[in-house]
Amino acid sequence: MSKKVISKRIEDNLQGTVVFSVPFPTGDDLSSLKHMSPIVIKQPYSIDYNYSYGQDSPFFAALANGRFIVTREPQTGYTYATPRAHDMYTGRETEWVEIKPEGRIHAFTVCYFGSEAFLPETPFILIQVEFDECDTLFLGRLIGADTDDANIKWIGKKVKGRFLRNAKLKPTDIYFNLAE
C-alpha cells in the first residue's frame, strides 16, 4: 500500500492578483510605511439571482402575451397603472383588469449617462405614462422620438404601447411610441 502524500505548501497559480514585486523597506526601520501608497486590488463580484416577481407575476405573463393589465380596487375603483396586489388606501386585495396601453406623457427625460447596465443604450428616453383608466402612472421607454428635440411640450403628447416580439419577462416588454 502506497503512503498518502499530503502537500504542506499551496501551489502558486496565475489566478487573481499576481504579484511580482512590492516595494518594502529592507532594513529594520519601518517608519516609512506610514507614507506608503495604498494597495488597490481588483475584486470581481458577480451573481445570478433566482428572482421571483411574486404576486406581480401575472403582469409579466400578460406582457409576454401582448396584453397590458393593471390592478383595480374592486370597491373604490382606484386603479394602479403599475400593479399592486393590495390597495394602499383600503388595504384590500386588488383585481386584474386589462386596458389598452394608450395614454399621454406625464413626465419625461432623456438619459445621456446611466448605470453601467444601460450605458450602451444611451441616449434613451424615459417617460411616465398616464392612462385615462388609471389613477397612477407607469414608467416606460419612449422609442422613435428624436432625443435632440427634447422639450417640455412633449408632456401631454399621446403615446401608444408596443410589445416586444420576443418577451424578456421585464417591464420593457412594453415600450411606447408617439401616437400623434
Binding site: 432623456v110 397612477t136 420593457t172
Partner: protein
C-alpha cells in the same frame, strides 16, 4: 423626553477617492476631530459615552456587511451598545435622528452618531447602478435604472406645472458651488456661472453635470448629550460647552415608485399636508387657483415626504413661519431641482414658487459675490456650506455632515473650522437640516437651536 444637546462634530474632507484609508480610518478622522473640538481624548470619552449609532447606505459599495460594527470596533467603542441604520440618501439624517432618540428617550446620556460611505471602490457607472438598485427592481430599475433620470422626470413635470426654468435651477448650482469655495471640506470648490452650468455635459435632460452632486468618500460624526451628559462632558473637558439643542425632528415617507404617488384634491392637501403658514385666505386662494389649472398633490413634482417631515419638525420646534423663523437651512440638494422642490416642501415659499425663489437672492449668503444680479436680499441662506452639489454626497455621512456644519453655524465657529469667516451666517440662532432618500421616499428634517 429629555432635552438633547449637540455638543461636537467632525467631518473628514470629502473627496472623489480616499484610497489611503478604509472606511474605519475615515470615521476615525471625523471622530477624532469631534473629540479634539470638545477638548477630551478617547479614553476620557470612552468612560462617558453610553453608545453609538452607525450609518452607511450601501453594502454594495462597501462590499462588507456589518461595516457599522467594524467602525465601532476600530474607534475602540466596543462593548458599548450600537446599531446601524440605513435609509437611502437620508441615511445620515436618519442616523442623526436615531442619535437624538437615544438621548431624548433617556436610554443614553451621551451618544455618538457616525456615518460614512466609500463610493470610489467602483467606477461611476457601476456606482450609478448600485444607487439605482434603490428603486423598485421589478418595475423601475429594468426600464433604465438611473437616479438622475428619475429626478429629471420630476423636473420636467415641475417645469410643466409651474413654468420653472433651467436658468432658475442653475442659480442653485452657482450659489452652492461658490459657497463651497469658502468651505475647505467641500469636494467641488468652483466659481461657476449660469452659462457654465448649462453648457456642462447633459446627463439627464434638462439636468447637466453641474446640476447634480458627485459621488464621494467621506465620514462625519456628531455627539449628542442630555443635561446630565453635558455636565459630565464639561467636567471632563474642563470648560463650558456652547448650548445647541435639537428643538424638534420630523420624518416623512412616500411610495418608492414615483408612479404610485397620489394626485390628491385641494381638500386633502389642506387636510393632510398644508403648513400653518398656508392657513390663510391668500394662500387658500392661490392653491385653489393651482388646482383649477389641473395641479394635483404631490404627483411626481413634489416631495410629500419632505412636506410631512417639515410639518412635524416645525410643530415640535414651534415654528409657524419657516422662512423668517429659520436662519439657515442645510438641505439635500443632490440635484439643483431637489433644492427648488424642497423650498416648497419646507414652506420657504408656496408650491410653484420654488423656481422664482431660487433666482430671487433670498436663499443666498450675504456678503458673497456670486456674479449674479439678484433682485432681493438674503433672507434665509440655503446650503451655506455648498450643499451636496459642491461638498459631495458620501451617502451615510451626508446628513451628519449637514448637522456638523449647522452646529458650527450656531456655535459661531465657522471661521475656526473653515479658516474663513465668509460662510458664517450672521446672528444664526436656529437652523434646519434636511436629508432625503430615493425620489422622496424617506425625508428627515431636524431643527437645531442655540440656547439663549
Amino acid at each position: 423626553m429629555q432635552p438633547v444637546y449637540v455638543v461636537s462634530g467632525g467631518v473628514s474632507k470629502f473627496v472623489k477617492a480616499r484610497p489611503d484609508k478604509t472606511f474605519q480610518g475615515l470615521v476615525k478622522e471625523a471622530y477624532d476631530y469631534a473629540l479634539a473640538d470638545l477638548g477630551i481624548d478617547h479614553s476620557q470619552f470612552f468612560e462617558l459615552v453610553d453608545g453609538s449609532v452607525a450609518s452607511y447606505f450601501s453594502d454594495h459599495f462597501t462590499r462588507q456587511l456589518m461595516a457599522g460594527i467594524m467602525a465601532q470596533d476600530y474607534l475602540g467603542l466596543c462593548p458599548k451598545p450600537s446599531h446601524r441604520v440605513e435609509g437611502g440618501g437620508a441615511t445620515g439624517g436618519i442616523c442623526f435622528q436615531e442619535g437624538w432618540k437615544a438621548v431624548a428617550s433617556g436610554y443614553m446620556d451621551i451618544c455618538l452618531a457616525f456615518g460614512f460611505e466609500q463610493m470610489s471602490h467602483v467606477e461611476t457607472w457601476k456606482g450609478n447602478e448600485f444607487i439605482a438598485l434603490a428603486s423598485d427592481i421589478s418595475f423601475d430599475y429594468p426600464v433604465g435604472g438611473f437616479y438622475s433620470g428619475y429626478y429629471a422626470m420630476m423636473v420636467t413635470r415641475h417645469m410643466a406645472e409651474f413654468g420653472t426654468t433651467v436658468e432658475q435651477l442653475a442659480h442653485v448650482s452657482v450659489k452652492n458651488h461658490i459657497n463651497a469655495y469658502h468651505n475647505p471640506y467641500a469636494q467641488k470648490r468652483q466659481r461657476l456661472t449660469i452659462e457654465d452650468v448649462r453648457s456642462s455635459p447633459m446627463v439627464a435632460w434638462p439636468l447637466t453635470r453641474n446640476d447634480i452632486c458627485v459621488m464621494s468618500d467621506g465620514a462625519a460624526a456628531v455627539i449628542f448629550c442630555s443635561e446630565d451628559g453635558l455636565a459630565k462632558l464639561e467636567k471632563a473637558a474642563g470648560h463650558r460647552l456652547p448650548r445647541v439643542k435639537v428643538a424638534g425632528i420630523g420624518r416623512g415617507t412616500d411610495a418608492m415608485r414615483m408612479s404610485d404617488r397620489p394626485h390628491q384634491s385641494y381638500e386633502d392637501f389642506y387636510k393632510y399636508n398644508a403648513l400653518p403658514n398656508e392657513q390663510n385666505d391668500d394662500d387658500r386662494a392661490y392653491y385653489k387657483k393651482l388646482w383649477k389649472k389641473g395641479f394635483r398633490y404631490p404627483g411626481v413634482h413634489s416631495f410629500r415626504a419632505g412636506r410631512m417631515a417639515s410639518r412635524e419638525a416645525y410643530k415640535n420646534a414651534g415654528i409657524v413661519d419657516p422662512l423668517h423663523e429659520i436662519d439657515f437651512v442645510e438641505l439635500h440638494d443632490a440635484y439643483t431641482s431637489s433644492e427648488v422642490q424642497t423650498y416648497e416642501d419646507m414652506g420657504l415659499c408656496r408650491y410653484g414658487e420654488g423656481g422664482p425663489m431660487a433666482a430671487s437672492g433670498k436663499t443666498f449668503m450675504p456678503g458673497i459675490d456670486y456674479g449674479l444680479k439678484l433682485p432681493e436680499k438674503p433672507v434665509c441662506p440655503v446650503n451655506p456650506s455648498g450643499g451636496l452639489i459642491a461638498c459631495g454626497h458620501p451617502v451615510g455621512a451626508t446628513g451628519l455632515m449637514q448637522a456638523v456644519f449647522a452646529l458650527w453655524q450656531l456655535q459661531g465657529t465657522i471661521k475656526k473650522h473653515f479658516g474663513d469667516p465668509a460662510l458664517q451666517v450672521p446672528k444664526a440662532h436656529r437652523g434646519a437640516i434636511h436629508s432625503h432618500a430615493g425620489t422622496g421616499t424617506y425625508v428627515t428634517v431636524s431643527i437645531l437651536e442655540k440656547e439663549k
